[in-house]
């Protein structure tokens, strides 16, 4: 893996920053929320205490009472629900089963009580007059004041409120106005009566005749079934009544509530007796809602008061005398709700002291001062900083890896370059004095040292040959002189051997200085215009005779014979001498050596490829490049001939003199080795077709 990617991976660690920020945020958030709800509870307690000094409503109505909302306008008594729907008042619902359901609305407007009943009854049963019964079909019973009224609902249209007087006679009470409207699956009854009539006792029930027997739904107890029957005598009034908002208290609460804070007074039976006007909750952005919900346990959904009742665990707890606070989820944000018991100030009756519960609702304002824009800015700054940090690290890593890469490339070039002095003079260096620049310097010093050693080795060969030549001359001239003396047979033998030995020594000395002599002759080389293919053909023929094995020239392009090119022919011949000599040494006996000349016209500068291919042992893996180095030999045979490991080095020198390259590879079928010379052919005299 490249250094850059490694560092990129490592730099992912900075992603811990946003995580840490988030964790910090969570803790801070919890702390702020806890503070807010505690403050809310304290405020609520203070308000509850002050509320104790206000005249508080009695709470003698139990849960079966009916809550009447204050209506903004008077509905028409016609049995239609249009006005009620526009009032947005939730009905009180009663259900017996799927076939018999009751929705009950109650409202007060200018000292009058309006009631709307919506009865789901798919099989309406009309009233059949005659008989002692007040009602023989579906009807509604209303208990108001001390009377039980019966209203027939069998047919659409206005209906009368019937009741039995003290003597049991049936009478109409015109203070009650009602209208019935049937619809598929049921009917509606709309009723209006003076509020004073219902002030003390009030209950209502819908009676449905089902398969001959009546059943009831509503706030009235089982006496409802008797009211429509034969004269039951005097029935006791119901102990339920009408509950409604205490306007004075509502006004008081409104004066205490402030934007965002909603106060509700709930009585002992959890009837909502006063509620400050519900101010709109400031809308929270989804991002902020998500942020504030971080680290919080899942919240219960807030259930708003409905049908005049405020039913919640908080209120129930407060009714036992202890305060309660809780967070709720609300469609528009998070809501803090505190419930505190309200005690009547100065009450001496213990049972009567608890007047109800004050409930305060407040949307989450923990991050109030921090506006959405501010929060977004903080997030953007964090993201930009993280991105900047990441980019900086990646950039830094790239820079480091570029420096290392440059150094490694320079080192590789210096190793391959036979004259790396210029390269070493322009060695990559940095103005920054760090470990990398130290490494670079050390590397250059190392290469220079290595170059020095190689140069010394090369010059050593030359020096050694010079030094050895003098004693060798002593030996040879002595032997020559000895040859002129009269010697016996035995002495002749030894002289001959000594002479052979000195001849071999002389060969060794020549081989040792060959590279430097070639370098000199390269400096003096002159390029000529020649037929490369013809030259190759001539020497291939000559090699065939010299080495007594076929040396074939294969020209891939038949046109090659007609091309002229500019090279130093002496050097080319010398290079081929070395190549063919090398191939001959390694080639399996009696196999041909092939010279393959390919013209490469498609490159920018015309070039040719000359391959010298022989069957035989393969190159040692991984050392393909090194075989062209000076003083390197792959030979393991101990032949008679001298090998200083200079042959292919000379080949490389000559190829480079011509601006070309020398490479070695194994044959594709692994049957031998190919040494490939790539020679660019300079334009002017290049391959001018000869006519």
């Amino acid at each position: 893996m490249k250094l850059r990617w490694q560092l990129t991976l490592v730099s992912l660690v900075i992603l811990l920053l946003p995580w840490m920020l988030l964790e910090y945020f969570k803790v801070f958030n919890s702390l702020l929320q806890e503070n807010q709800i505690r403050a809310l509870q304290d405020t609520t307690k203070a308000i509850a205490t002050s509320l104790g000094h206000q005249p508080l409503p009695d709470s003698h109505h139990d849960q079966h009472s009916l809550f009447a909302h204050y209506l903004p306008a008077a509905p028409l008594v016609d049995g239609y629900t249009d006005e009620w729907r526009s009032f947005q008042i939730a009905p009180r619902q009663f259900t017996l089963n799927d076939e018999f359901k009751l929705n009950l609305w109650a409202g007060l407007y200018q000292q009058k009580l309006w009631i709307l009943l919506e009865v789901a009854d798919p099989q309406p049963e009309p009233h059949h007059p005659g008989g002692a019964r007040l009602a023989t079909g579906d009807h509604v019973v209303v208990a108001a004041g001390h009377r039980y009224y019966v209203l027939h609902t069998g047919t659409s249209g206005p209906t009368l409120a019937l009741y039995r007087n003290f003597t049991g006679d049936i009478e109409h009470d015109y203070r009650l106005q009602a209208a019935v409207q049937h619809y598929p699956g049921g009917y509606r009854l709309e009723l209006q009566l003076p509020a004073a009539l219902a002030s003390e006792h009030f209950a209502i029930a819908a009676i449905d005749y089902h398969q001959g027997s009546p059943r009831q739904l509503g706030t009235l107890n089982s006496l409802a079934l008797l009211a429509g029957g034969a004269d039951p005598g005097i029935l006791p009034p119901p102990n339920t009544g009408l509950v409604s908002t205490d306007l004075a208290l509502q006004q008081y609460l409104n004066s205490l509530a402030r934007p965002g804070l909603t106060l509700t007074l709930v009585d002992a039976h959890q009837w909502q007796r006063a509620r400050s006007t519900h101010p709109r909750l400031p809308l929270q952005s989804p991002l902020r809602r998500w942020l504030t919900s971080l680290g919080q346990p899942p919240l219960p959904l807030f259930a708003p008061p409905s049908g005049g009742r405020y039913l919640s665990a908080g209120v129930e707890t407060a009714l036992t005398g202890s305060s309660h606070r809780q967070w709720f989820k609300h469609p528009e944000g998070t809501l803090a709700v505190a419930s505190v018991p309200v005690y009547r100030a100065g009450s001496t009756v213990i049972e009567d002291r608890l007047a109800g519960v004050l409930v305060a609702e407040q949307p989450l304002a923990a991050w109030g001062p921090l506006h959405n824009r501010g929060l977004n800015r903080l997030l953007i700054i964090t993201a930009v900083a993280a991105a900047f940090l990441l980019l900086t690290l990646i950039g830094y890593a790239s820079w480091l890896s570029w420096r290392i890469g440059r150094l490694s490339r320079a080192a590789r070039r210096a190793r391959l370059d036979p004259k790396p002095e210029a390269l070493l003079a322009h060695w990559p260096h940095s103005r920054i004095d760090d470990e990398l620049s130290e490494l670079s310097t050390s590397y250059r010093d190392l290469l220079q040292q290595l170059r020095g050693y190689t140069d010394y080795l090369k010059s050593l060969a030359g020096k050694l040959s010079h030094e050895l030549r003098t004693p060798l001359a002593v030996v040879r001239s002595s032997l020559d002189n000895l040859g002129n003396c009269t010697l016996n047979e035995e002495a002749h033998t030894y002289t001959r051997r000594a002479r052979e030995g000195s001849a071999r020594l002389s060969d060794i000395l020549s081989a040792m200085t060959e590279a430097s002599r070639v370098e000199t002759s390269i400096q003096q080389a002159e390029k000529e215009n020649i037929h490369l293919a013809a030259l190759l053909q001539d020497i291939a023929n000559a090699y065939s005779e010299t080495y007594r094995r076929p040396v074939r020239l294969l020209t891939v392009d038949p046109q090659a014979r007609h091309w002229h090119t500019q090279v130093a022919p002496e050097l080319i011949v010398q290079m081929l001498d070395k190549l063919v000599d090398n191939a001959h040494d390694f080639a399996t006996a009696d196999t041909p050596i092939e010279l393959i000349l390919t013209y490469l016209p498609h490159t920018n500068m015309p070039a040719c490829r000359l391959e010298v291919s022989n069957t035989g042992p393969l190159l040692p893996p991984g050392r393909e490049d090194q075989i062209f180095d000076s003083l390197t030999t792959q030979r393991e045979d101990k032949g008679q001939r001298i090998h200083m490991g200079l042959g292919l080095f000379i080949v490389n020198l000559i190829a480079q003199y011509h601006g070309g390259t020398a490479t070695a590879r194994n044959r594709e079928d692994s049957s031998g080795v190919v040494i490939e010379i790539h020679l660019p052919l300079p334009p002017p005299a290049v391959f001018a077709p000869r006519r």
Binding site: S477, T520, D538, N541, Y543, E570
Partner: protein
């Protein structure tokens, strides 16, 4: 009177060996170990031939200096460099100073003696009128075998003994390819291929100095060289 040969050589053993061999052939040999003693001796009388080592003890280029000195005093005196150094650069330096030949120390005695004889023959020939039978003519090329001189288009070409023998071997049979071994044998040298190439190059250059269009010595790649009678 025996011919006098001066050997200026800092290596006593080599000098002794050469002296013994030359004395056996009837030459009078004087050996000098360094430049001052040699110069001192040459001040009174010049030898007939001088064999000089390039490096004389600590005097790295003492031989060259000596050669220059001798040549200034006698343009005819045959001078042969004998050295352990075989750098192309040294060869050229030595020959520029007017040496007649430049030999490495590993040359066989027989080859060296052949040169010495040839050089003496040349000195002899120069003192006598030119003889027709010694002259070989190949177009514009004239070679005088006994005087070991060559002329191209009437202009003298200054060749060393080795070069002369190579040129003669080539020009003797025009068109025939002489391989390197044959040329070495003809020149009485044991050299490697590169040195023959250098010699040929030098010969060509010397012709080019007179005739820039000279191209009679042709390379037969992989085989050797040949003299072309027709351009």
């Amino acid at each position: 009177m025996a011919r006098k040969i001066a050997i200026v050589e800092d290596e006593q053993a080599i000098a002794d060996n050469y002296r013994d061999a030359l004395q056996k052939l009837g030459y009078q040999v004087n050996h000098y170990l360094d430049r001052p003693t040699a110069l001192q001796a040459f001040a009174t009388s010049l030898p007939d031939l001088a064999i000089i080592d390039v490096r004389l003890g600590d005097d790295v280029e003492g031989g060259f200096e000596l050669c220059r000195e001798l040549r200034s005093r006698s343009p005819e005196l045959p001078i042969v460099f004998l050295t352990a150094r075989d750098d192309e650069f040294d060869v050229i330096s030595g020959l520029r100073l007017g040496a007649d030949d430049y030999l490495t120390k590993d040359i066989g005695q027989a080859h060296m003696l052949a040169r010495i004889n040839a050089l003496f023959r040349r000195v002899e020939a120069l003192r006598q009128p030119a003889r027709e039978e010694d002259v070989l003519t190949r177009g514009p090329l004239t070679i005088n075998l006994s005087r070991m001189s060559a002329h191209w288009q009437q202009a003298a070409i200054d060749l060393t003994v080795t070069e002369f023998w190579i040129l003669y071997a080539l020009a003797r049979h025009p068109g025939h390819v002489k391989n390197r071994q044959q040329l070495m044998d003809a020149a009485n040298v044991v050299l490697d291929d590169n040195t023959i190439t250098s010699h040929i190059k030098r010969i060509r250059r010397k012709f080019h100095a007179i005739d820039p269009h000279f191209d009679r010595i042709q390379t037969a790649y992989g085989m050797g060289y040949r003299w072309l009678d027709q351009a």
